[in-house]
């Protein structure tokens, strides 16, 4: 292809980026940096330091972090088991794992709600078995469960890809040089999986940070993540300036974490979704 053709073909994408990324971003920045009268102000950019907002941000970061860690703790052993079991067709297993992603996201969260609510399926079962009750709906725990359930495939896939790509002979070389199971894990498998874990963390942490739907449904509106506050500013309070200011702060936070974990995922060549 000659250079002109390439340039012509890239026009739709450039228009897309301008229309749906650059211009909205300019609007957000403009709104965030002005007040209702249109005058320049730092008020909304610094609104994150308001105790309510600060608490919401902290909770968002905490829950996103906990969800990411739980996703790693589930995915990594699963990947190791899949690798050592030497299943003929890991593709099928990966397919089964990502199958829930094909169902509507809200539906999945509603299903979780149905399971863990006060009169839900789990409590029903527990009472039949006389095993007491769980009371986690409308708590941060419920939100974490929802986030883990929803975002686990985004962790599983890159981690699995990465672990399966580690050549067997490297592991054998480690054993050959005297490494037992523990040292094979700590000195070879984990270091060689960091890129996949990094990708996974980015892909779980970022949407968890900005989450508000899960918090609405499983938190019963009682738990305020930064995402919920932003949503309310836009749809209820109609304070778009404050909403934009908080959004921008959240974006910067997301950017920082992406840079932190993305450094590893950049050299993950096997990453496929």
């Amino acid at each position: 292809m000659n250079k002109n053709r390439v340039q012509v073909l890239s026009i739709p994408y450039i228009l897309w980026v301008i229309g749906f990324t650059v211009i909205p971003l300019i609007f957000v920045v403009a709104k965030a940096a002005t007040n209702a009268e249109g005058d320049f102000t730092f008020e909304y950019l610094l609104a994150i330091f308001d105790p309510v907002h600060r608490k919401a941000l902290l909770l968002s970061v905490c829950l996103a972090f906990i969800s990411s860690v739980i996703c790693v703790l589930i995915s990594y052993p699963a990947a190791l088991i899949l690798k050592s079991a030497k299943f003929k067709d890991t593709k099928i297993i990966m397919f089964i794992m990502i199958l829930p992603m094909w169902m509507n996201f809200i539906l999945r969260i509603l299903a979780i709600q149905l399971l863990i609510s006060k009169n839900g399926v789990i409590n029903h079962l527990l009472s039949v078995l006389h095993l007491g009750q769980i009371d986690i709906i409308n708590t941060p725990i419920a939100i974490v469960i929802g986030m883990v359930y929803d975002y686990l495939p985004y962790m599983l896939l890159p981690v699995l890809n990465c672990v399966l790509a580690i050549p067997d002979d490297i592991i054998e070389a480690g054993k050959d040089l005297g490494a037992g199971k523990f040292h094979v894990l700590t000195k070879i498998l984990i270091p060689l999986s960091l890129s996949g874990i990094g990708s996974g963390i980015t892909m779980v942490f970022v949407p968890s940070m900005t989450e508000f739907v899960i918090a609405n449904i499983l938190g019963g509106g009682k738990i305020q993540l930064l995402g919920n506050i932003i949503e309310q500013e836009f749809s209820v309070s109609m304070n778009w300036n404050l909403g934009s200011g908080l959004s921008l702060t959240l974006m910067i936070f997301v950017l920082i974490t992406t840079l932190l974990f993305g450094r590893n995922s950049a050299n993950n060549r096997n990453f496929v979704l």
């Binding site: 054998e172 070389a173 050959d176 040089l177 005297g178 037992g180």
Partner: protein, 363 residues
């Protein structure tokens, strides 16, 4: 003769229904350079992996220095492996790769540093400590893999087609390096290859295998000059393998004509395979020949010509000679008695010469 260091006794191994090794016995002496040689898929790697501890035999035992090590895991064995695809730790520098085994053994930093330097000098890559494997050529990576293995001072080094991925020139260079290394280290090398030239160049002892069975064990000279069956003769270098009948001791009949040979102890009139190496067939004037023939093709091969001769006794000889005989020449054919190698007919499929369709596709 030095003592037996490794002994495989009555080893059998199957993968599913595929019987790869069948009651195999083999011993390896201390400080020997032993090569397992055979076509792809004959079970060489499986033997090496059983010695290394990466596979467990279904039956049979592995002895190391008289001790049964069959059940020990690889990290408990006093041997190290150089893998075919180098298997370097890509997340570590060259120095960290080499230090891997020593750190696990909790050696001191200064000891490790000295060892790294010593090993890198030994494989001719001084100063490469801080490089990453990805930034090295195939040959360099292979040297690092060797350095990483030998710093652990194993009694035995296992090498699985270590030069397979290198180009011809580098491969030849590395062959000499490996011989030098073996002599400097004074340890046992067990080397796997399907390349007969490599085996002949480097080994003290060659173990020729086919279909999981050992065909012959011997020095490179004895394997080349006195192959025990048609498979070995055919696999080690080119040869004429001809049907013959042993008339009596030291006399073999080929195509109705009697030839003197040096072999004894065959049955009277026993059908045999007669092996004649192409360089042992002498062409000359028709008058002086034991039999005669006509040149049907001649190809220049560099050092020699390769000539096909259709002989009066109905046998097509392949001949290697430095003399030029144009196509159509009428020539005399002689072979001195020493150069006939007489063998019993194959008793089983694995002793027969290799057909192209027998060779499994490489993984």
């Amino acid at each position: 003769m030095s003592k037996k260091l490794i002994e495989l006794k009555n080893i059998s191994k199957s993968f599913g229904s595929n019987l790869v090794l069948d009651e195999l016995d083999l011993y390896i002496r201390e400080n020997e350079f032993v090569t397992l040689l055979g076509p792809s898929g004959c079970g060489k790697t499986t033997i090496l992996r059983i010695i290394g501890g990466f596979e467990t035999p279904d039956i049979g035992s592995v002895y190391f220095d008289g001790v049964d090590i069959t059940k020990l895991s690889p990290n408990e064995r006093q041997l190290n492996t150089v893998f075919q695809k180098y298997a370097l730790f890509t997340h570590m520098t060259v120095a960290e790769n080499i230090a891997f085994g020593l750190r696990l053994k909790k050696k001191s930093d200064s000891y490790i540093k000295d060892k790294i330097k010593y090993a890198l000098d030994l494989v001719n890559l001084p100063g490469y400590e801080d490089r990453y494997p990805d930034s090295l050529s195939g040959g360099q990576q292979q040297r690092i893999a060797i350095a990483r293995a030998i710093v652990n001072e194993p009694k035995v080094l296992l090498l699985d087609e270590p030069l397979g991925a290198l180009d011809l020139k580098l491969r030849q260079e590395m062959q000499y390096e490996l011989i030098r290394l073996k002599n400097e280290l004074g340890i046992t090398f067990i080397y796997v290859t399907h390349d007969q030239e490599e085996a002949l160049t480097m080994s003290d002892t060659i173990v020729v295998m086919n279909q999981g069975y050992i065909q012959q064990i011997g020095t490179p000279e004895s394997i080349y000059n006195e192959p025990t069956n048609a498979f070995v003769a055919d696999f080690i270098g080119e040869s004429n393998i001809i049907d013959g009948i042993m008339v009596r001791d030291r006399l073999v009949n080929i195509g109705g004509l009697d030839f003197e040979c040096v072999d004894e102890g065959f049955g009277k009139n026993e059908p045999v395979d007669v092996v004649i190496r192409p360089e042992d067939v002498e062409l000359g004037s028709p008058e002086g020949g034991h039999t005669t023939g006509t040149v049907t093709s001649i190809i220049f091969k560099g050092v020699h010509y390769e000539i096909q001769v259709e002989s009066a006794i109905g046998i097509n000889f392949m001949v290697q000679t430095t003399q030029n005989f144009p196509v159509g020449s009428f020539v005399g054919i002689n072979v001195i008695p020493d150069n006939f190698q007489i063998m019993h007919k194959p008793q089983s499929e694995d002793e027969e010469i290799l057909n192209i369709e027998d060779i499994p596709l490489k993984e």
